[in-house]
């Protein structure tokens, strides 16, 4: 569906995209995960034929983004929710989706797309009167109305409140069931983990890791941790003596890194043996741990690396 080789985007003195290669398969949800300035949007905009590339090659739906006559074919085959999506303020939801539909020779019924995005109640509301979450849903509807083979969603939930974000996720999960190929960019770990089949982690213009969420976690997430809540000093000392990877945090909780599947049972039976039953919890590594491990930083709510 999409093929990128050694893609470079050079601005005067910055290299926004620094030689990346990847591909997106038919029917998968692929996500670019990374902080602001990692080169996610630049790459996506090159693939949408909005920006020229500096070096390398990129094919979208089998067409070359650098050839003017092939760009026409790409435009027919993709649907896009751009970053900071906006539509004509005074037109209604339906009219804005219709306008995009009319740009294509073939398109889906506007009413069907409105229904798919659960926008029926708002179909006659002017765009300017919608909340941020609803505006994004109109944007997704507009991206789908041409029945594209490949859908680009550039930061679909940035700036939304958690409730609106979840609504958009529900919509996108449904999209997956329709078998659409989706290319998503995000700086929200949870979003990538919830929606994507495969994730490429981007930092400073490079892809630093690529794989399914589980593969990434298995490879980079580190060990599971068993936490024993509210251990007193004596118990903590005993655990530290007995288990090599045990440590105590400031709350008095003991953390033990688990190296093999037997270990939790050993810990539990040890606790029973010394009659020190406590609340325990197993913490599995998340994408956040993966990201921290690979890039040495976290991503803030606003998308900044810190």
């Amino acid at each position: 569906m999409l093929e990128v080789q050694d893609l470079v985007k050079q601005y005067a003195d910055t290299r926004a995209v620094d030689g990346i290669s990847f591909s997106v398969n038919d029917g998968e949800v692929f996500a670019f995960l990374g902080p602001n300035g990692a080169g996610k949007t630049t790459t996506v905009e090159i693939l949408e034929c909005l920006r020229p590339l500096t070096k390398g090659a990129a094919h979208v739906c089998g067409y070359d983004v650098t050839r003017e006559n092939e760009v026409k074919e790409i435009k027919k085959n993709i649907g896009v929710l751009p970053q900071d999506y906006n539509a004509l303020d005074k037109l209604t939801v339906r009219e804005n989706i219709e306008l995009i539909a009319e740009m294509y020779d073939k398109h889906l019924e506007v009413a069907d797309v409105i229904k798919l995005l659960e926008l029926e109640d708002k179909a006659n509301t002017k765009f300017e009167n919608l909340s941020g979450g609803l505006k994004q849903r109109v944007g997704i509807a507009a991206a789908l109305v041409s029945d594209p083979k490949l859908v680009f969603l550039d930061e679909p939930t940035t700036g939304l409140d958690p409730r609106a974000r979840r609504d958009v996720w529900d919509v996108l999960t449904n999209l997956k069931k329709l078998g659409k190929t989706v290319f998503l960019t995000t700086h929200y770990m949870e979003e990538a983990q919830t929606l994507a089949d495969r994730i490429a982690i981007m930092a400073k213009g490079k892809i630093v890791a690529i794989g399914s969420p589980q593969q990434l976690i298995d490879k980079y997430g580190g060990l599971k941790i068993l936490i024993i809540r509210k251990a007193d000093k004596t118990l903590a000392d005993k655990l530290e003596d007995k288990f090599e990877h045990a440590s105590v945090d400031s709350n008095g909780d003991v953390h033990i890194k688990i190296e093999n599947t037997d270990e939790p049972y050993q810990i539990m039976s040890f606790l029973t043996q010394i009659k020190a039953e406590r609340d325990v919890e197993i913490q599995t590594p998340t994408l956040e741990d993966v990201f921290l491990k690979i890039t040495g930083s976290k991503i803030s709510e606003e998308g900044e690396a810190k």
Binding site: P52, P82, Y85, L91, S146
Partner: protein, 235 residues
Amino acid sequence: MRFIAIFKAVTKNWLRSRTGLFFSIMFPIMMIFIFGSIFGGNNYVPTMTAAFIMTNGIIGLTSTNTEFKRRGIIRRLSITPLTKADWIVGCVLSQTLLNLLLTGIMIGIGWIAFSVRVTPDPLTILMIFLGSVMFSGIGMALSGALKDVEAASAIGNVISYPMMFLSGVFVPLSIMPSTLQLVSKFIPLTYFSDGLKAAIITKSTGTTLFDMGVVAALAVVFIAAGVLLTRWKEK
């Protein structure tokens, strides 16, 4: 035929934009009040119409279009199979419809309040149509080439005010020095305003047709320039 969809959408958008429409209507009304009170009669109607259609195209449409650009509306449309020519023609026709409506309102008020007795014949309407297409074309070319709203309206002002004075709209050309009279020959507004004068006041069809030809040719040139100057691909 995508320009029809653009025409419809953009037209609906301004029809529903109350403040924008209010000021669009107030401008010609204000002009007819000022000119009507000073001169009376019909003689100022063609030049005044030409002047406000010019400012609507060069200043008004330029800032609307730059605003569309700033808000990412054009960007969104540019990812579809829409061509630049379709976008420009749709916007130009929409602005032209607005201009025809405003001219009608202005002349109507002139009839009621200032004894204006102008009945637009088909030739006059065609002239207004072509003049409006020409100036809207300039507006689209300007905003296609420029990135920010401030620069666009500043340049719009810089272009339109000298044109107003050098084409005999405010000051009769006959009292100007000969060099300025020569300069006026190179100003699009001159032909539009002369053509309208010939159509409305002197009723000389020959002059109207000549000016109309010049305006129509320039309209094509500016729309083509708009298509060439407009950059949808970013850096």
